[in-house]
């Protein structure tokens, strides 16, 4: 057998995760996040919890012990595992929810974090530029799917200062361009005002 060693690339085509700071906002690629989707079967009762976390209702998310669960559609959820991007996460989810249909999603999505280092306001200002949603519906604990520059994205509001964005892996560069352009512009505005 020839010795073949393969090294994975991130969604943005680099060996290492890209991270860039614009004023108060840092944008970081998160290749270590594993993703799987969970769908309840029509002939099975509604699942209640996975990995000890209660499955959230419409527009909500729950997070704990490195696992995040996002409501994606009626009787469907997205499950994120921190630091498990290079493991068979879908099998772990299947073992934890045997009555449900589980689909591997890590290879289909890119995860990018937006973090503010100066309170909630810079993140709020940036989100208002990016998505057409009522800011009150993007409070911590909210998660929803919407459009960002014509791309379908999940927005996951972990806290006042942090939101994660999941989008199609094949358009990761377009998402990065949209986020960095908006964040750069917002940082420039803040500088001019100050």
């Amino acid at each position: 057998m020839p010795d073949i060693s393969l090294k994975s690339m991130t969604a943005l085509g680099s060996d290492d995760a890209l991270s860039e700071t614009f004023g108060a906002i840092t944008i970081s690629e998160r290749p270590e996040v594993a993703i799987a989707s969970l769908a309840a079967r029509s002939d099975a009762p509604d699942p209640i919890s996975v990995f000890g976390l209660s499955l959230p209702g419409p527009g909500e998310m729950v997070s704990g012990d490195g696992i995040t669960i996002v409501w994606s559609a009626p009787r469907q959820w997205m499950i994120l595992g921190e630091g498990r991007g290079e493991q068979d996460f879908a099998s772990d989810v299947k073992a934890a929810a045997q009555d449900c249909s589980i689909t591997e999603q890590t290879d289909g999505f890119v995860c990018i974090d937006l973090v503010s280092n100066s309170g909630a306001q810079p993140l709020q200002d940036l989100l208002m530029r990016l998505v057409n949603l009522d800011p009150a519906r993007l409070a911590p604990g909210c998660a929803t799917r919407t459009l960002l520059e014509h791309m379908s994205v999940f927005l996951i509001r972990y806290s006042e200062r942090r939101v994660a964005i999941l989008s199609m892996r094949s358009s990761a560069q377009s998402l990065w361009h949209a986020l960095s352009t908006a964040a750069g512009f917002a940082a420039h505005r803040a500088e001019v005002r100050a």
Binding site: G59, L133, T144, T146
Partner: protein
């Protein structure tokens, strides 16, 4: 235009795709007598009201729900929005009674 999603609250119409008249939910049965005429009507005949209209919207860039929206086509006022699944189940239950 904002569409009041029954689960997710008001959402921009850009997230939705218009999928036609809500009467499309009532698909005729192929085994009934007169199915040919019923399917011809189902496929080709539509009301085109200037006023209150029941229509199907698909939340394509959201949770992928199909929604029955009751809308006034003259004013764009939205009078009601329900999950199409609930509407179909309710009419099936009514027919079964």
């Amino acid at each position: 235009m904002l569409i009041p999603h029954p689960l997710l609250g008001p959402r921009d119409a850009e997230e939705f795709t218009y999928m036609g008249d809500a009467s499309l939910i009532a698909r005729p049965s192929a085994s009934d007598p007169g199915a040919e005429q019923a399917f011809s009507d189902y496929v080709y005949l539509r009301d085109n009201p200037a006023g209150v209209h029941r229509e199907l919207w698909f939340h394509e860039a959201g949770d992928r729900s199909w929604i029955v929206v009751t809308r006034n086509t003259l004013t764009h006022e939205i009078l009601d929005a329900q999950l199409a699944r609930d509407v179909a189940l309710a009419s099936a239950a009514e027919a079964g009674e």
